[in-house]
């Protein structure tokens, strides 16, 4: 076990998968120079045929990655969540829909690393958290790791998965240090975390808090604060939104009866909205209080440092929400 950063964990995952399987290659803007860090060393280690710097044409190169995956390649595409809009047609009309509309003939083992930079003064165009839209459109597996271990294990699983996977990596967590097991500590010698398995970050009895991406850290702080006030909070990180481990969430709700859902995406039709609807349909009789969502405000991301922090979930908002469900 060693402590490494989230970005380092991603880098390890990429290197292990590229070493293991020649079909895996890497593509994105400025990835050879690795300005964002996750693609560090890749060009030196794997060369120009496997590490491609692309022109600024997301629709074009996402489509090329998708097309190459149809004929036996396993691309990892690096992008920013905020740049995915440019490629929506390739993502939706092609990656999401091809397998089904061709009656199963297509196999699309393509992985997109979509980094979410938000909360860092990047303003309206560079701060998207769009994963709810990719939950709604059938055909994508949607992954949201909140720890270095999860980032590594889930990225490896994504590369091995034979469907289009989008990992929404939280840019706020790049420098987050966490325990990541060494390969020789692991049965099977590799860190592979399965999809559809939520992580109970902290057990508790009085309130369930489900949190996504960097909100997991905020939820844990809120839980620690509430502990001091004698409220036992259970924190769950779904880790993947498609497939979603609703069993773990519903089991927790049956135990606590109270739920707060924390989601950095915009509140309308957020992942939290979908989870709330599942709980209200399948866990209704376990609820002791209304479900509360703590999600980003339904506005664009303002530049001013005086305004931006008001948008997102934070420890204080989560604490207030927990208190509200307890007092109900």
């Amino acid at each position: 076990m060693r402590k490494i950063m989230y970005a380092e964990a991603l880098n390890e995952a990429i290197k292990e998968e590229m070493t293991r399987d020649e079909a895996v290659y890497y593509m994105g803007e400025d990835v050879r120079a690795s300005i964002y860090g996750a693609s560090k060393d890749l060009f030196d280690m794997y060369g120009e045929k496997r590490v491609w710097d692309t022109p600024l044409s997301e629709n074009g190169f996402f489509g090329a990655a998708i097309g190459s995956s149809l004929v036996g390649m396993r691309p990892i595409v690096e992008t920013l969540t905020s740049f995915m809009w440019v490629a929506m047609d390739q993502l939706v009309s092609q990656a999401a829909k091809m397998k089904y509309m061709f009656g199963g003939q297509a196999t699309l083992p393509v992985t997109f690393r979509a980094v979410m930079y938000y909360g860092g003064n990047s303003a309206a165009h560079h701060s998207d958290r769009s994963y709810p839209m990719f939950m709604n459109m059938p055909g994508f597996k949607v992954i949201v790791p909140s720890t270095p271990e999860d980032a590594k294990g889930l990225l490896k699983t994504s590369v091995r998965d034979n469907d289009p996977c989008i990992i929404f990596e939280d840019g706020n967590l790049g420098g987050l240090r966490g325990d990541v097991p060494d390969n020789d500590e692991l049965e099977g010698g590799e860190l592979l975390i399965p999809f559809g398995k939520a992580n109970v970050m902290k057990e508790g009895t009085d309130c369930t808090v489900v949190a996504i991406a960097a909100s997991v850290g905020e939820a844990m702080k809120a839980a620690q604060q509430m502990e001091k006030e004698g409220v036992s909070v259970e924190v769950i990180d779904p880790r993947t939104l498609v497939p979603l481990d609703k069993e773990t969430i519903l089991n927790s709700v049956s135990k606590t009866g109270r739920v707060v859902l924390v989601d950095p995406a915009h509140k309308v039709c957020s992942a939290a909205s979908e989870i709330a609807s599942i709980i209200s349909e399948e866990g209704f009789w376990d609820l002791q209080a209304p479900i509360i969502k703590v999600a980003s405000e339904q506005v664009h991301i303002p530049f001013s440092p005086a305004l931006e922090p008001l948008v997102y979930p934070n420890t204080e908002k989560i604490v207030n929400a927990i208190k509200k469900t307890i007092e109900s």
Binding site: K49, R50, P55, F61, G67, V71, M101, F102, D163
Partner: protein
């Protein structure tokens, strides 16, 4: 002609298959037996057939909504194509795709896309795979005059030319995007002029001359296999029927004249090839007629196959979403 006789007769045969197939689906559409939108390829057979004659089974193609010609030209199965258009479970896509989404991965047909130009970057990707693996297959995409204005086309051409990928871009310029003439939508005189903007060769070919389409494609394929990069081939052609069947009943303006259509009917690709074969003593009228009759019969058999085939069962609704299965919400 520097192709063996069987190859040329095969081109004639394939054009007849497509022609009779399109007549058959047109009839079934009029009678309501086939539902949904159908985009007739009649008049354009020379393009798909000439182009695909230059390709191996191991080469890849992708196309667009005017989709029946491409798979049939590339060695697709006429029964499965018909059944797919009927929405039956014996179709190419188990009835899940329909007319606009025919695909046969077993002979390198990576699918027809309903969104025009959307399959162009996909095709570039297949070419990228060839380059990464050092294999000598090529990939080729069909798109129309309308699609040539889409950003996806331009991004694709830039990528393929920049990285010298073994890709062939075939623009089937049938001169109209629904009712809009390409002269009112394309900023250059010939669509092939756009190639120079991407530093690759571009040529405009008579799309009704199946041999000319073959020769141009063959040269482009050789370039591609030699690592010299992509080519843009514009096949100037014509569709005798409207953008989609049934559109004539609803469109308000006459966007082309009957004289125009008649002029192009006189340059029918099948008649042109047949006339050349007979006048150059390569084949007789009887040989040509025999081929047409065989393909007419094949299409009739395909119709029967499609009609007799079952529809998919309700459970099949949830199949084919995933290669690595997950629970269905």
């Amino acid at each position: 002609m520097n192709l063996p006789k069987e190859s040329i007769l095969l081109m004639l045969r394939k054009m007849w298959t497509i022609r009779h197939f399109e007549y058959a689906v047109m009839e079934c559409h009029e009678s309501g037996e086939i539902v949904g939108a159908l985009h007739s390829y009649i008049g354009e057979e020379g393009v798909a057939v000439g182009v695909c004659a230059a390709l191996r089974d191991s080469d890849y193609i992708a196309g667009n909504h005017r989709s029946h010609g491409h798979p049939l030209a590339k060695g697709g199965d006429v029964n499965k194509a018909m059944a797919e258009i009927f929405g039956k479970k014996t179709g190419y896509c188990k009835g899940k795709g329909g007319s606009m989404h025919l695909a046969d991965f077993s002979v390198g047909i990576l699918g027809e896309s309903g969104i025009v130009a959307s399959s162009v970057p996909i095709t570039v990707g297949a070419g990228l795979a060839a380059k990464i693996r050092g294999e000598d297959f090529v990939s080729l995409v069909f798109f129309g005059d309308g699609a040539s204005n889409q950003g996806a086309c331009h991004e694709s051409m830039n990528l393929a030319a920049l990285w010298k990928l073994p890709v062939i871009f075939v623009c089937e310029n049938n001169q109209f995007a629904v009712t809009t003439s390409y002269k009112d939508s394309v900023s250059v005189e010939n669509i092939s002029d756009r190639a120079s903007a991407y530093n690759m060769p571009g040529l405009t070919i008579d799309g009704q001359d199946v041999m000319a389409m073959y020769e141009a494609t063959n040269e482009a394929v050789i370039r591609a296999r030699n690592g010299e990069g992509p080519t843009l081939i514009e096949g100037l052609t014509y569709r005798y029927y409207d953008h989609s069947l049934g559109l004539a009943a609803v469109r308000r303006i006459e966007y082309r004249t009957d004289e125009d259509i008649q002029k192009w009917r006189e340059r029918d690709p099948i008649i042109l090839l047949k006339d050349t074969l007979i006048s150059q003593n390569i084949a007789t009228q009887e040989e040509c007629d025999a081929i047409e009759n065989e393909e007419k019969k094949n299409v009739e058999n395909a119709l029967e196959f499609a009609r007799k085939s079952p529809y998919p069962e309700p459970e099949q609704l949830f199949e084919d979403m995933w290669s690595t299965p997950i629970p269905q919400p």
